[in-house]
């Protein structure tokens, strides 16, 4: 019993310490004089490798999610003879919840794990140390561009996700099940509010982008420099960022529903 309490205490102290380290790490990465001329090419390169390479998985996942929501929604709505409302149902569920959350989960699996593995490998092979010995700060040269690229890409990917998912719903609802196109679009237009729905979804995706990339780059930077260490860090990135996204989603939804 006592040892269990001791263990709990020790692990919670350790957790606090780790969160503190991660916070300091974030501050050191972000608080510095911007160097746009040298930084911009680095950022663009990372935007390409983080954002563009995540596009295929986002596109495929979003079209299927839109189609599934369309099918399920049609089945339920037909019981109430309200199948014209399908456009509204697809758009609201995707823009408010499914878009930001699923895109963030996929992003954590595709880009987050790749970031952790890449940075962890650079640490293991002493590339970060050699950069430091050359008088170049790896936080600026390696971490910062990747961090900003993640924060910028996820909201953009989320928007693409939402748009494609709505198209997926349209394909099922209108082309396959025969709902009237005009009803589909006009019901959607009438019920989706820019501020309440679209903007809130984008805010969520910005927060998720921040959290997922933060966890990914920190786990990479704090990797234990062995092969096993890299694999553990990659696993941790996916687990922690998925849990953080789902937990944070609840908190944000609660705040937004609470009349914000």
């Amino acid at each position: 019993m006592m040892t269990a309490i001791q263990k709990l205490g020790r692990s919670s102290i350790q957790l606090c310490g780790n969160v503190g380290y991660a916070g300091l790490f974030l501050i050191k990465t972000l608080v510095r004089k911007p160097r746009p001329i040298k930084g911009a090419p680095l950022l663009i390169q990372e935007l390409y490798s983080i954002g563009v390479f995540s596009l295929p998985i986002i596109l495929v996942a979003s079209i299927f999610i839109g189609m599934v929501v369309g099918l399920q929604g049609y089945n339920i709505l037909s019981k109430f003879s309200a199948t014209e409302q399908l456009g509204q149902l697809v758009a609201l569920s995707v823009v408010r919840e499914l878009g930001p959350v699923v895109a963030a989960l996929l992003f954590a699996g595709r880009a987050g794990s790749a970031l952790t593995a890449e940075i962890g490998l650079m640490k293991t092979t002493e590339q970060l140390a050699s950069m430091e010995m050359m008088g170049v700060d790896p936080l600026w040269r390696v971490i910062a561009p990747r961090f900003w690229a993640g924060v910028i890409s996820l909201p953009l990917l989320t928007m693409i996700f939402c748009a494609v998912a709505v198209i997926g719903g349209h394909v099922i609802g209108v082309e396959w099940l025969g709902i009237d196109t005009g009803a589909f679009w006009s019901n959607m237009q009438a019920s989706v509010d820019f501020h309440l729905d679209v903007l809130n979804g984008i805010i969520k995706s910005v927060v998720f982008g921040f959290i997922v990339t933060w966890i990914a780059v920190y786990q990479g930077y704090a990797t234990e420099p062995t092969a096993a260490g890299i694999s553990r860090a990659t696993t941790r990135t996916v687990v922690y960022s998925s849990l953080a996204v789902l937990g944070m989603d609840f908190v944000l939804t609660a705040i937004m529903m609470g009349g914000w």
């Binding site: 092979t125 002493e126 590339q127 140390a129 430091e132 050359m134």
Partner: protein, 278 residues
């Protein structure tokens, strides 16, 4: 303990340095000097913290007690900004080369120049080709690090370490895992670069004959202390048991062959008794 040797003075002075990691004492009150323009070797068995010493000189670690000086500037008292500037004057060759795997050989060597200078690209190109020519790899400039052999990547790392013409270059185990030919190439290169460019070199190594053939002065570390020092010739003749065992590679001596264990006979008898009991 510190002997003044002839020459241009000291580039690095280590003064009563003590360093601990995880309660374990890595260095216990050691003092040594690295004179300018010479090759100084720091040798010792694996795990005596030779690489740690280089990290302390580079300011990546802070000592628990004592100080390190670079031309009378105290390294352990510097701010991060000063350290970054100091490191522009140092080059370091890492044990596993540490080339940037996503850049070509050419870009690897150009990296420090692009980061620290405002030179136009045409000028950088000339400099990179000169550095690569010095290590004999001008023809390999478009290869990726994964396409290089171990000896080649170490030579590229050497070219990168001297990209900014540093005053001090530190070699961390430069000969480990090299075949005899590339070993010979590296020995020749280190000696040649040191003499031709007037650099100061520190070699951390446990390859005795190769290091002894080029070093001007050798320190031998063991168990956190300097157990021997002198020119290669002096050390070869030295009768101190630590130095004797290390320089001649004897399997048993001050550093025992056996890891500490209970008495052999009792250990065996104990298992016999267990068998009888069961």
């Amino acid at each position: 303990m510190i002997q003044q040797r002839e020459g241009l003075g000291d580039l690095i002075r280590i003064d009563h340095l003590t360093f601990q990691r995880n309660q374990q004492c890595i260095f216990d009150d050691i003092s040594l000097t690295i004179p300018k323009g010479q090759i100084t070797a720091i040798m010792g068995p694996s795990g005596t913290g030779k690489t740690t010493l280089l990290q302390l000189i580079g300011g990546r670690l802070k000592p628990n007690a004592g100080h390190l000086y670079y031309e009378n500037q105290c390294i352990d008292g510097m701010s991060n900004k000063q350290l970054l500037r100091l490191r522009e004057k140092m080059g370091m060759l890492f044990q596993n080369s540490a080339l940037f795997t996503n850049l070509t050989v050419y870009d690897n060597v150009a990296f420090p120049m692009r980061e620290h200078t405002q030179l136009p690209e045409s000028f950088i190109k000339d400099l990179v080709l000169m550095k690569l020519e010095a290590v004999g790899l001008r023809g390999a400039r478009n290869l990726m690090p994964s396409q290089l052999s171990g000896g080649m990547s170490r030579r590229v790392a050497l070219a990168r370490a001297m990209a900014l013409d540093p005053e001090l270059i530190m070699y961390d185990e430069p000969f480990t895992g090299q075949d005899p030919i590339s070993m010979g190439v590296l020995v020749k290169l280190i000696k040649h670069l040191n003499d031709a460019l007037g650099m100061t070199s520190i070699i951390v190594s446990h390859d005795v004959p190769e290091t002894a053939s080029i070093a001007d002065y050798i320190y031998i570390l063991a168990q956190g202390k300097i157990v021997g020092q002198g020119t290669p010739q002096q050390l070869a003749d030295c009768q101190d048991p630590h130095v004797l065992q290390f320089m001649h590679g004897l399997p048993d001596g001050v550093v025992p062959f056996h890891y500490p264990a209970p008495d052999y006979r009792q250990d065996l008898l104990a298992s016999c008794k267990e068998r009888e009991a069961s």
